[in-house]
Symmetry: C2
Subunit: 220 residues, 2 copies
């Protein structure tokens, strides 16, 4: 894992590290990267601004440290799924459920990820998309290639476009639980109870994805 | 169409209206809503700030006028597709191609739409998502209900979750042409030529969507 914080940060208690990072996550999510203030973050985390700069060289380094932790979470989640028993459909269902669970557990991290996609942060987004999206893309590629080799999914599918389609569905699902805009949009599409019935969403999405992957009948 | 501009704005030449709105689109896309400055927009559009406030009550009203125009574009595009001959798959393919075309023609409008989903603008997003997403959701609902009634797609699909899945794929495709972050992500998934080969994307996505909608074989 790349390190954006200074060595001194590793030496403070884990609990204090976590308090500083949690405070920063809340501030970045509420105000965006440009609007967040590192002095305010230090104050809210109960440390001096001098201490803050002993841990992080800049607001950008603090931000990148958070993103690195998020990458760690993603890698752990994918690794768990990779080591679980099950076929491609069971693994994709685990991804869908993990998306729901992580979106609810870390709404602010998801908001920060969504903010990353806006043009104002594009100087960071090239560096960051490389890392996170490569982890995800390789995961799907492996899953799809092996299912295709075993004859479990339609051999006529384009494996890479298929991987992108599946991840687009899962990403939009995460946004639908974490952004006001996409939450409203999901209610308009599915109904006011959309956010209360997770099983309905899992069933609907898995029906769609299974259909997409299984060998097709000819059109009626 | 709701009007957020003042009556005086309707009375200036269409060309001048367009110049003011185009300038505003560029500024909002480059700086986000919070960062954009109405004085700068007036200056770049070659009008006085006094004139600007004769046309729009506030920066928010100027912004909402742009969003209303974007709704108009979306309604026109959906209306065209609605009145074209073709079955559900041909219509969805028209949506995919329209997404590619509109994303290239109006990248800044798409960036603004993406920015709308960030938390900073959530006071506007409830109002705005209502309008735009309702237009789209009703379009898909009609398309899916009628194809289901004609026995052209799998009757076991959840029509509303299916509509959301299809629109999620099309929305993410638009983002993949207009946001630096999602552009890089698409290249990581599909390869460096992803943005050069539109037909490959259309074929791959349509293969996925057709599979999802057609009546399924039992898993192998």
């Amino acid at each position: 894992m790349e390190k954006y914080h200074k060595e001194t940060f590793s030496r403070i208690p884990a609990e204090k590290q976590q308090r500083i990072l949690d405070t920063a996550v809340a501030e970045f999510a509420a105000n965006g990267f440009p609007g967040a203030n590192i002095n305010v973050i230090a104050k809210k985390a109960g440390i001096s601004i001098g201490a803050m700069y002993k841990y992080f060289g800049s607001k950008e380094d603090l931000f990148l440290t958070i993103i690195e932790r998020a990458h760690g979470l993603l890698e752990e989640a994918l690794d768990d799924i990779d080591h679980s028993p099950g076929d491609i459909f069971q693994r994709i269902e685990m991804m869908v459920r993990a998306a729901q669970r992580y979106a609810r557990a870390f709404p602010e991290l998801h908001q920060i990820y969504l903010d990353l996609t806006s043009e104002g942060l594009s100087h960071m987004s090239r560096k960051l998309s490389g890392k996170m999206e490569t982890i995800t893309a390789r995961f799907y590629e492996k899953l799809i290639d092996s299912a295709m080799a075993q004859g479990r999914i339609d051999p006529r599918l384009d494996p890479r476009v298929t991987a992108l389609c599946i991840d687009n569905l899962i990403l939009m699902l995460q946004y639908s639980y974490t952004s006001d805009y996409f939450r409203e949009r999901m209610k308009i599409f599915i109904g006011p109870d959309a956010l209360l019935d997770d099983e309905k969403i899992v069933r609907g999405m898995m029906g769609f994805i299974k259909g997409a992957l299984l060998t097709q009948k000819q059109p009626g």
